[in-house]
């Protein structure tokens, strides 16, 4: 529920490579490899079209972006904030270039026409799923699926969406370590919004750890650093068993 498989894939491809930073226009390959994500071909050479890390997967070469805005894809779980209310829908800010309309038929309540603000109002935080994104990038979202809901209490942290896969970690290793060591409930939206709920002090540590992951996403042995950091803040009853990723 808290993350989707796509990020695992990214993380695997990403693992154990020298992190060569490239910028738009840089030549990624001139030996006949195929262009992967965020790459294009000019005169037989593959070039980068975003700033990021050069990424080789089999015989394709592409770029994993370091920056940039979140673009929703269907199936993503996202956290959003209600930013406008209409008679039969809400507009949700999901940190994408476009707000996502949430129609009354996609919420788990029976809402009469014009009665929308009784259920969700400005500033309310919701956990949604992206149903579809059409060619002109029109987004449809739903709140009718298991676990989807209005979120109350706790804390919200915003990280760059390109760092979400690091927060989750390989096969979810990072996020489960965070949850276990801080004893917090944590929900990660693919759009970079993360909800943390737990005891005040522990939540502070979890939030700081998430920010640390975002800042240091480029560095190696991140899991160990984060583990050390949390241990220094919260004494662990028993040694948390790190499954040894990275």
């Amino acid at each position: 529920m808290n993350y989707i498989r796509e990020s695992d894939k990214m993380e695997k491809r990403n693992a154990r490579q020298t992190r060569e930073i490239v910028v738009p226009g840089d030549i990624l390959d001139g030996t006949g490899m195929r262009p992967g994500e965020n790459a294009y071909v000019l005169d037989g050479k593959v070039r980068a079209c975003v700033m990021g890390v050069r990424n080789v997967f089999q015989n394709t070469v592409g770029v994993i972006p370091l920056r940039g805005c979140y673009m929703p894809t269907s199936g993503d779980t996202v956290i959003g904030v209600i930013e406008d209310i209409g008679p039969s829908n809400w507009l949700v800010d999901i940190s994408a270039p476009y707000p996502a309309p949430l129609h009354v038929s996609e919420v788990p309540w029976k809402v009469e026409f014009g009665d929308t603000s009784r259920y969700l109002t400005l500033g309310d935080v919701v956990l949604l799923k992206v149903l579809a994104v059409d060619e002109s990038k029109k987004i449809s979202v739903t709140m009718k699926d298991s676990g989807l809901r209005k979120i109350e209490g706790g804390r919200l942290v915003k990280v760059s969406h390109s760092k979400v896969s690091r927060v989750i970690g390989k096969s979810g290793s990072m996020i489960s370590m965070l949850k276990n060591m801080t004893d917090c409930r944590i929900t990660v939206g693919q759009n970079g919004l993360i909800w943390v709920d737990g005891d005040d002090e522990n939540a502070d540590v979890a939030v700081d750890a998430i920010k640390m992951i975002e800042e240091q996403a480029q560095s190696s042995n991140l899991t160990d650093r984060i583990k050390e950091f949390i241990e220094s803040k919260i004494p662990q009853d028993e040694e948390y068993d790190d499954e040894g990723d990275e």
Binding site: N38, R67, G68, Q216
Partner: protein, 246 residues
């Protein structure tokens, strides 16, 4: 271009008043990621020109009637600050800055992969902190670094530099005196991977030979500037990586 002076702009040894030879540009300085709020930002100095650029987006396009259902639009606003010139400039847009904003927007639209973000706007703000001939080139140079820094997909980074003519000599990168009392000014911007021209203006009086020579120098100067643009972007992340691995 119409000014007259007894000032010798190029001496008998081919030396210019600031000690440069005909084909030498002024010192360049490029920094990426200099502001917090903007999605991408850059600071550029070309000689005494000091320029900041910030990028927001892709985000919802305002005003809405400018939206294009098939691609994003690039909206650039070039602004000279009141104290940037020797006489105080009255704040607010004038005909000159509106024209410059338009040609810079068009130059950038050529390299940005706008079709990825239908209906959106990519907003570029260029602020001239200090002007000394060549602000549109410095502005465009900064803007393209800011776009890459914002993680916006683009074919290449765009450098811009002017050539011109003073005292009958074809010169690279005119300074203020050469611009005021010279005979021609030709600012250009190129896509370095293909040497395509995306911005070109000319005023003054040049022969075909002089013009060809000027363009040749300006293109070579653009390629030098391009290396600094790429370096500024990469430096931003390699510095971070170093700090982390201390």
């Amino acid at each position: 271009m119409s000014g007259h002076t007894d000032m010798v702009l190029v001496d008998e040894n081919g030396m210019r008043i600031d000690g440069r030879t005909a084909d030498q540009h002024r010192p360049f300085k490029v920094e990426a990621g200099v502001l917090n709020n903007a999605d991408g930002s850059a600071y550029v100095e070309i000689g005494k020109n000091k320029v900041l650029a910030a990028v927001y987006g892709p985000r919802e396009c305002h005003p809405r009637h400018l939206q294009n259902p098939t691609k994003a639009i690039v909206q650039c606003k070039y602004n000279m600050q009141a104290f940037s010139v020797s006489d105080r400039k009255r704040p607010g847009p004038d005909r000159r800055s509106i024209e410059i904003s338009k040609i810079i927007s068009e130059a950038l639209e050529k390299v940005v992969l706008t079709e990825l973000y239908p209906r959106a706007s990519i907003d570029v703000y260029i602020e001239i902190l200090q002007a000394n001939a060549g602000t549109r080139c410095a502005g465009l140079t900064a803007a393209s670094v800011a776009l890459a820094d914002a993680g916006i997909p683009m074919r290449d980074i765009v450098p811009a530099l002017a050539a011109g003519k003073a005292d009958g000599h074809v010169l690279l990168d005119l300074n203020k005196e050469e611009d005021n009392y010279g005979q021609a000014d030709v600012p250009i911007a190129i896509i370095p991977s293909t040497d395509e021209i995306v911005l070109l203006q000319m005023d003054g009086n040049m022969t075909r030979e002089e013009f060809d020579h000027g363009i040749e120098m300006a293109v070579a100067g653009c390629h030098e500037l391009y290396e600094l643009q790429k370096d500024a972007l990469k430096r931003r992340y390699s510095k971070k990586a170093e700090e982390e691995s201390e």
